[in-house]
Amino acid sequence: MSLLTLLVGQTATLAAPSNPYLQIQLMRMGLSEGAQLTLKSKVPAGPMVFECNGTEIALGHDICKQLHPQPQPHLSLT
């Protein structure tokens, strides 16, 4: 399950990305393991816009596909 399954308005806690290049790129921007991402908008088959630490950041479709939320028992994302 990747971030692509999130619905607008839902919040997820980011799991560590498995792609090292992506991991260092995002880590610098504050999107490290444990970051809280709230999905603000979603372009069909396109980028997703998240709010994280009070700023909005757009991530391309290919990137979202590789990012996963940490499993959270109290939050159903299915």
Partner: protein
């Protein structure tokens, strides 16, 4: 199985070509001359350029779009002549992931003092770079900008605590206010200050050895990951310790501000799509109809042809006989003196000015990054990403200008694809005005439909083909979205002026050179030979009357001359012939100025390939259109 963004541990190729004009002297020379080198560095869109402008009195491009500083502006501090100030492109860290990071890394390592500008509302993101600068052994002065916005988010920053934790001087500012930068100026005025507090080294991230060891360690992919992890954790803790919520978070406002709502609307595919069409339509009305039509009629027709050119011709006529080749070369139809001045100041200048006003307003509003997000879906299929929408929109104004702006794209590969698409498929505003008039002759609404379908299909096909052929992969979109805000008039005016001046300065010599070449060809009869030689091609290949060859050759000089030549032929052409000619002329060579810019930006090999490719595509596509329209008379 997720597709990899890039192969693990393989960084994208970093171009070796210099992107920037080098500072007038190197760091060693500056320090020998007793100058202190201050480098401004920080994440994209934090306000470095505002600080730079306030310190130097020069103008670096200030916009509400991340990644607009691609050159490194530099100058002396206007308040202290001993200080040399250099701006750098905004980066999130020094990892060599892009040309910008390489440029910035070289600049900060050469600096005596790095003024690190951070945004108060995005501290946990920005301080990662700050900590990396400290770990790399740079002497850092942290400037926390946009303190006013922080107050709006009901948060409070403990500046003293931040200073203690980082071990460097921290200066809170509101750089956009009239005297916002004064505290920084006061501090820098004490320079050079060997024994001053701000030259102290900061606290390295726990677990790291600062200076060269830290840099060496991070050159190794596995150790880099470890170091980044430590640094990220450390910074998250620093922020948690210094930033406090002033009102209980339970009272978070449920109603969004207008700015937030606008931002969300722009990202809706339907509203965003319609608004983009509206923006393009308005652009066409302002730049294509009003500036390219009415205003250029006045600047070119009245001012240039009426008042400026005749005295020049008269003066040249005093020295050379009017039928001599020297006269023709200097002041004839394609004269270096006459056509250059007429074109650069009569046409290009008002057009570029109008376009930059429009672009500056869009840019400052925060609209463009949202359009970049929307168009990413399509652009990522042709080897680009959403950021490339900016050069594409600019192309409808002036392809030459747009080609220069492809510098904002991350990789050389993206710049190649974007420049090629601009050269071949995007008609500029000078052409659009004439194309518009010809459309009526070609069948109006239906003709527009055919034209748009052909050009969009070609845009996608060429992009997809290049994406397939060129080695590498496009970089996926990672883009900060700044808040939507009302553009500031003074900034728009200042930015427009500086950019227009810079563009004219860059394009003018190239255009003079180009018109000199065409002038020589004309004077020695080569243009007529080319026209003669082209005639069978136009007649048998494109099924057009022989005289249209003249229009094509004129299109070499100026794209709108070509289309205007067709307009002059008017009724003698059938609708299908007009369409064939229009498609060919749109795809055909870009004008002299843009050809020269391709040469400069992309190098001789790639520029030649783009030009020859555009000829092949133009005549190939023209022939196809002519034959299809002969069989299927839809027009």
């Amino acid at each position: 199985m997720p597709a990899p963004v890039l192969p693990p541990n393989v960084l994208p190729p970093v171009a070796t070509a210099a992107l920037t004009t080098p500072p007038p002297m190197d760091a060693a020379t500056r320090s020998k001359a007793g100058l202190v080198t201050v480098v401004l560095a920080g994440n994209p869109n934090v306000g470095k350029s505002v600080v730079f402008n306030a310190l130097t009195g020069l103008y670096a491009n200030v916009s509400n779009f991340p990644g607009t500083t691609v050159d490194t502006p530099h100058g002396r501090c206007k308040h202290n002549d001993r200080i040399f100030i250099q701006d750098t492109p905004g980066v999130y860290g020094l990892s060599g992931l892009s040309d910008e990071e390489t440029i910035t890394e070289a600049a900060v390592l050469d600096a005596d003092i790095v003024v690190n500008v951070v945004n108060a509302t995005t501290l946990s993101r920005d301080l990662f770079f700050t900590q990396q600068l400290i770990d790399y052994g740079c002497t850092v002065l942290v400037v926390v900008n946009q303190m006013d916005r922080l107050a709006n988010t009901q948060q409070q920053l403990d500046v003293e605590r931040l200073e203690t934790l980082l071990g460097v001087t921290v200066l809170p500012l509101v750089a956009t206010h009239a005297h916002g930068v004064t505290p920084l100026i006061t501090l820098l005025n004490q320079l050079p200050l060997e024994a001053n507090a701000i030259t102290q080294a900061g606290n390295p991230c726990p677990g790291m050895v600062p200076g060269q060891p830290a840099r060496n360690a991070e050159a190794n992919p596995a150790q880099r990951m470890h170091a980044y992890g430590l640094r990220r954790k450390h910074i998250n803790a620093v922020v948690a310790n210094t930033l406090t919520q002033t009102t209980p978070s339970t009272t978070t406002p449920t109603s969004q501000t207008l700015s937030q709502r606008l931002g969300t609307w722009c990202l809706n595919p339907l509203i965003g799509g319609v608004s983009l069409l509206g923006v393009l339509w308005l652009l066409y009305q302002v730049v294509g109809v009003w500036v390219a039509g009415d205003l250029v009629n006045f600047t070119e027709g009245t001012i240039m042809l009426g008042w400026v050119i005749p005295p020049i011709q008269w003066a040249v006529g005093q020295v050379f006989a009017t039928d001599s080749w020297m006269y023709k070369l200097l002041a004839g139809e394609f004269g270096v003196l006459t056509m250059s001045i007429q074109y650069i100041y009569g046409v290009l200048f008002p057009l570029v000015l109008g376009f930059y006003v429009y672009l500056s307003v869009l840019e400052d509003s925060g609209y463009l990054p949202r359009i970049a997000v929307l168009s990413d879906t399509i652009l990522s299929r042709i080897g680009l990403n959403g950021r490339a929408i900016i050069p594409m929109i600019l192309g409808f104004g002036c392809v030459t200008m747009a080609t220069v702006s492809t510098r904002v794209l991350t990789s050389q590969r993206e710049r190649t694809i974007a420049s090629t698409l601009l050269a071949v498929t995007i008609p500029c505003s000078a052409q659009l005005a004439v194309i518009m008039a010809l459309m009526a002759a070609a069948g109006g609404f239906k003709a527009w439909g055919v034209y748009l379908v052909i050009l969009s299909a070609l845009f996608c096909a060429i992009g997809a083909a290049l994406n397939l052929v060129l080695p590498g992969k496009s970089t996926p979109l990672v883009l900060d979205l700044p808040p939507m805000r009302l553009p500031q008039l003074t900034n728009v005016a200042q930015k427009t002026w500086v950019r227009t001046k810079a563009f004219i300065a860059e394009a003018a010599p190239l255009f003079v050179l180009g018109s000199a070449i065409v002038g020589v060809l004309h004077v020695f009869g080569a243009l007529t030979v080319i026209q003669h030689w082209l005639s069978p091609l136009t007649e048998q290949w494109l099924l057009l009357p022989g005289e249209t060859a003249t229009a094509f050759v004129m299109g070499l000089v100026r794209r709108d001359f070509g289309a205007a030549g067709l307009l002059a032929m008017g009724d003698t052409l059938t609708a299908a012939q007009v369409m064939t000619a229009l498609v060919t002329i749109t795809l055909f060579v870009p004008c002299i100025a843009s050809a020269a810019i391709f040469w400069k930006e992309r190098g001789p090999g790639e520029a030649t390939a783009i030009l020859l490719g555009s000829w092949a595509i133009a005549f190939g596509m023209g022939a196809i259109v002519a034959r299809i329209l002969a069989w299927v008379p839809i027009l």
